[in-house]
Structure formats: structure tokens, C-alpha cells
Amino acid sequence: MTAVSLPQAPSAWQRFRSTSRSHRSITILVGWALIAVILPVIVMIPPLSTFQPESLWIDGFANAGVFILLAMGLNVVVGLAGLLDLGYAAFFAIGSYVYAFGASPFTATQIPFWPMLLVGAVIAATLGLLLGAPTLRLRGDYLAIVTLGFGEIVPAIFLNASDLTKGTNGIGGIYKPELFGFKFTLENPVPYYVTMIGILAVTMILLYRLQASRLGRAWMAIREDELAAASSGINTITTKLLAFALGASTAGLAGVFATSKLTFVGPGQFGFQVSFTVLAMVVLGGMGNIWGVATGAFVIYTIQAVVLKELNQFFQALHVPILQSIDFVQYQYLLYGVALVAMMLLRPEGLFPSSRRREELHAASDEVGEVPPPTEALDQ
């Protein structure tokens, strides 16, 4: 472009970008509506249609939605506020058990699904506050280890308090959602799919608005330099606590939905692997970028639910003895581990980075040997 070029009329793409920026909520709604329509169409096209029937695909997408929800929630804690939460599955477990207690033959109660979504979120957030209040006053690493412990202890409590939770057998026969007399069934995954898309769209709009709000800016300020944030008048403890509670509430919501779909809950579903998988989704997708982590979650879930199994079958069919003996599903966590280390070393901003996060992560590594980066200067 020469220096004297006349201002050109904005291209259609540029106009689209600027409109979508200024009407973000509507864009998100339209985006999710498009996704909701396109996904079922795509899976009817070979080769995708040969992997599994369409209803299984739709079912899988609804399950992927649970992980997208979890990843978006963890993104608030890890990506926006910069706090490492390693026990995120605990809040997922709490949401799940809340729905199991609220709507199952085991407790002989049947509270409708829709208010339970809120109840699960609120109870998870409350427990998040209770756990965060003593630990968020301390330095960030303590939070990581305390949440790690919490993530193990919560399933252990659900396992051991067998009078209340039926222990290792879990609670089954949980009631499915109902909307104005329309009953959700196991045979038809479409209502779950539509509900999930709705939840995701609403959550994403809320999160984007939150991110752009005063609170969202405070989170990012704390992430980038806590001392400077505190000096600028941000109450760091309350702000971090809010991030933690908000992340927990999203996980609680995801738990209620997942349980209503599975109609069963047991302590074995919430191991450290779940927290770890969600963390890998957030890191791979790009910490701090909401669409990025949603994409990361979708990609990882699809890889683990479909691609690894297909690889197994593919190599089984090849009749090469060594390849046949490899179970790719078994190695998924090894892959996540390698991916986490590699991402942090090579591309810490993730595959779909947020621009601010990228600058922050790269600015820090450029300063080696010169001025110590802010975090280090604080520790001394």
C-alpha cells in the first residue's frame, strides 16, 4: 500500500468484522444458531457418516457441549484471572450430585430440571467461595495444590459417605428434563443438543460481557501484575474470589446438564483426569480467548471420543502386528501431558490466542537477562 492511497471503501469482510465487534451478543447468538444447524448436516457427509450414525454424532455433540462449558468456566479462572485450578472436576461433581439429590427416585424428590440448573450453579459457586476464601489470600501456587486436593477429596466424600450417596454404586434412574409436557428421552438426543446449544450461547454472551466489564478488566490486571492491580485500587481477594466462584458455577451448571443426560452419577466419573482434560483444553485452545477454548474443547473431545477409536479400528484393519497392539485411547493422557509441556514451551498462548495474552506471554520471555519480569520482582 502506498502512502498516498485514498481511503478505500471497507471490504465486505471488514464491514462484517466491525459489525460483529459492535454487536457481539447478537453475533454469538447467530454464530451458535449456525453451528447448531451446520453440525448435523456435516456429519451426514461421508466419510463422517460412515464412522457412526447421525444420532450418535448428535449425542456426542451434546456431550462435547458439557466439556465446552467446563472449558469456558475454567478459562475464567485460569485464562482471565491467571489462577491455576487443578480440582475443577470437583465442582462438576457437586453440580452432578446436586441434580441427583434433587431429581431421582433415591431421594424421592423431583424438582424440575430448569430451576435445578441454577441451583447447581449456585451451590457449586458457594462451595467455591468456601474453598477459595482461605486459600486465595495466599500465593497462587497454594491455590493450585489446594484445588488439587479438593478435586480428589470431593469424589472421595461422595464415595465414602455411602449412606447419602450409595457410595461406589452411584445414584441411578435420575429424572430427565421436561419442557411444557415435552419429555426428553434417551433415544432422541436432539432436545439435549438444542438445550446445550442454548446454554452455551447464553453462557458465552454472559462471559464476553463480563470479560469486557470492569470486573473482567480487573481479572486481567491481576493476572498481568497483581501488585500493580492492587495499587490501582482493585480489591484483589474479592476479585479473585469472584473469578473462582464464577468458574465453579459454570462447572456446576455443566454437572446438572450432564447428569440429566446420563441419568446416572457415581464418584468414579470425576477423577483427576477430568480436571486435567479440561485444563488441556483451555491451554491448547488459548487461555483467555473464549471462542478459542470452546474450539479447543470441541477438538479435544472429538479426538478422544471419535478419532482415537477410529485410529484403533483403522490400524486393526491394516493387520500390522505392532500397530494393532497399540491402543490409542490408552495413550490419550500421555498425549495431553506432552501437549501441555510442548505448548507451554513453544506456543504458550495456545492455538487460538487472545491478542492480549499473546503479548503478555511473549513480552515476558523477551526480557530474559534484562529487567526481571514483574512476577519475579515481586517475589524477592
Binding site: 485460569v78 491467571g82 491455576l84 487443578l86 482461605p134 486459600t135 489470600r137 495466599l138 500465593r139 497462587g140 501456587d141 497454594y142 493450585a144 495444590i145 489446594v146 488439587l148 486436593g149 479438593f150 480428589e152 477429596i153 472421595a156 466424600i157 464415595l159 465414602n160 497483581e226 501488585l227 483427576f272 486435567f276 485444563l279 491451554v283 490408552q330 495413550y331 493422557y333 500421555l334 495431553y336 501431558g337 506432552v338 501437549a339 501441555l340 509441556v341 507451554m344 514451551l345 504458550p348 503478555e360 506471554l361 515476558a364 520471555s365 526480557e367 530474559v368 526481571p372 519480569p373 512476577t375 519475579e376 515481586l378 517475589d379 524477592q380
Partner: protein, 328 residues
Amino acid sequence: MSVDLRGIARPLGIGVVALIVEYLLLGTQQFANAMTLGAIYALIALGYTMVYGIVELINFAHGDIFMVGSFLAMWIMTTIFGLTGPVTNLLNLVGLLAIVMLATMVGMGVIGMFIERVAYRPLRHAPRLAPLITAIGVSFILQNVIASLFGPSPVNFPQIVPADKFAILGGRIAYLNLFIVIMAIVLMVALQIFVGRTRLGRAMRSTAQDREAAELMGVDINQTIAITFFIAAALAGAGGMVQGLYAGSIKFDLGFFVGLKAFTAAVLGGIGNTTGAAIGGFVIAFVEVYATVLGYTQWSEVAVFSVLILVLVFRPSGLLGQQLGERA
């Protein structure tokens, strides 16, 4: 470092009294169990506390390094020495234990240094979150590598120490328990001497205190940090070996809870403080054994975790640590 007798006498006195009280409360067998567990936790907690002291990183992979140590010791015993059952000749037994332990410690030390070089050193100036995330990644890599090499189910650990017991104060204790406690104490004393009296130990302490100033005084920071990781991993390896001897079988995810408990011990003792970590290890072990004695075995993890939360709420600096508070 001069030996201050009065400074040592008081905590030593308190410790001895506490141990006698515990002994009377628990009886010989449970007391021996608690001491053995405590020795293992202390060895691991030392690694957490040393690494934290010098690079301010919670090494999440440390519990898994302990686990890999027990598998390495198992592999050396079964594959290299072909051991399966008890070794009755005392001289042979002592020699074998010494060789296996030395090999395990050196092997794990090298692995620890390698992990530091690959996963932590490049991120030393990155935001805090980055090395924590790689540490989690390394932890999962270690677990899954071991699971694919040795299988996901528990693996038998050769019981080379005969299960003989000796009578003491009206109770009977296995020789193995005695060996584990003595070995742990020897290693801890050796560590104290190394950190307190040698040139490298002084380099470690100065690096922990002020990295830049130490560098200006000519301390090779990279080498010092690498040695810290070597020692931490070697101690965890020794812990892993005796854990195998003590428990009889080992599993790929064994490091998770043991690591969490050892970390609690390190926090309880005051993170960054080696003496505190050792004491914390024994305290946590006693908490756990009490939970078992009172019939709440399955709640022991919950109990230990509650201790961690309580310490963080009421005394975040730990029993012997300096004030950390909220800093970053």
C-alpha cells in the same frame, strides 16, 4: 555454622517427649507404622521444600518422581539382580540394599535434572502459571509412561528383606521398619550436613535467598538449581524404593496421593525449611495412623487434606517457616 547446643536441645526435648507420648497412645505396632510412613513422607517432603526454596515452584511431578523411583528400584532388583524372595544372608542383604538404593538414587537424580532442564529451565522467566502447567504435564507423562511400560495394575515388589521381627518394650517390630527409619534419618542428616557445611550447599542457600546477588558472587545458578533437582529426585527415589519394600506392591498412580500428603507435610513444616519438612512428614503420618486406629481408614486422605487447609488458614508460614503471606 556452629553447633548451638541450647538451640537444638529444646526442640529435641519436645520431639522426644512427643514421641514417647505417641508411643504410649498408639502401642508398638502402630507407632512403628507411623514412624515408617513418616520417614517416607519426610523424604518426599524434603524434595518439595528444597525445590520450592530455590525456584519457588511447586513441583507437581515430584510425587510421580517418587513413583518412578519405586519402579526403577523394582526393575533393578528383578531384572538386573533377578531377586524375587527374601535374602537371608545378612551381608548380602545389606550389600544389595545399598547397591540398589544408590543406583535408584543416582538414576532418579539424573531423571530429575533432565526434567528440570527440559520442562522448567526454559520457563524460568515466564509468568508463574507456565511452569505450573508444565509440571502437571510432566506428572501425567511420567504416570502414563510407567503405566504403558509396566501395565496399569499393581506390580509386585520383591520382598528381599525377611519379614522377621524383634521384640521391644513388650511389642514386636519388623526389621524392615527399623531399616526404613534409620535410613531416612541417615539421609536427612547427610542432607543437613551437605546444605549446611559444603560449598555447594552454601551456593544453594545463597541462590534460594537472592538469586541475582548469588550470581554476582560467582555462583553458577543453573548448576546449583540442577543439583537441587538432583538431590530432591534422589531422595524421592530412595523413598520410592523403601515404599516398595514396605507396601509389597506398587502402582503407576501411587505418587498422586503420597505426593499430596508430602506436600502437606512440607507446608505444615514451613515450605522452604528442610527441618520443618522432615517434622511435617512425621506429623502427617501420625495423623493418618490415628485415622486408621480410630477406624476411619478411608477418611485418612480427607483428614490430611483438612490439615492442609487448616494450616493455610491459621498459620500459612507453617511450623518453622518464615512469613510468606500473599506476595504474588
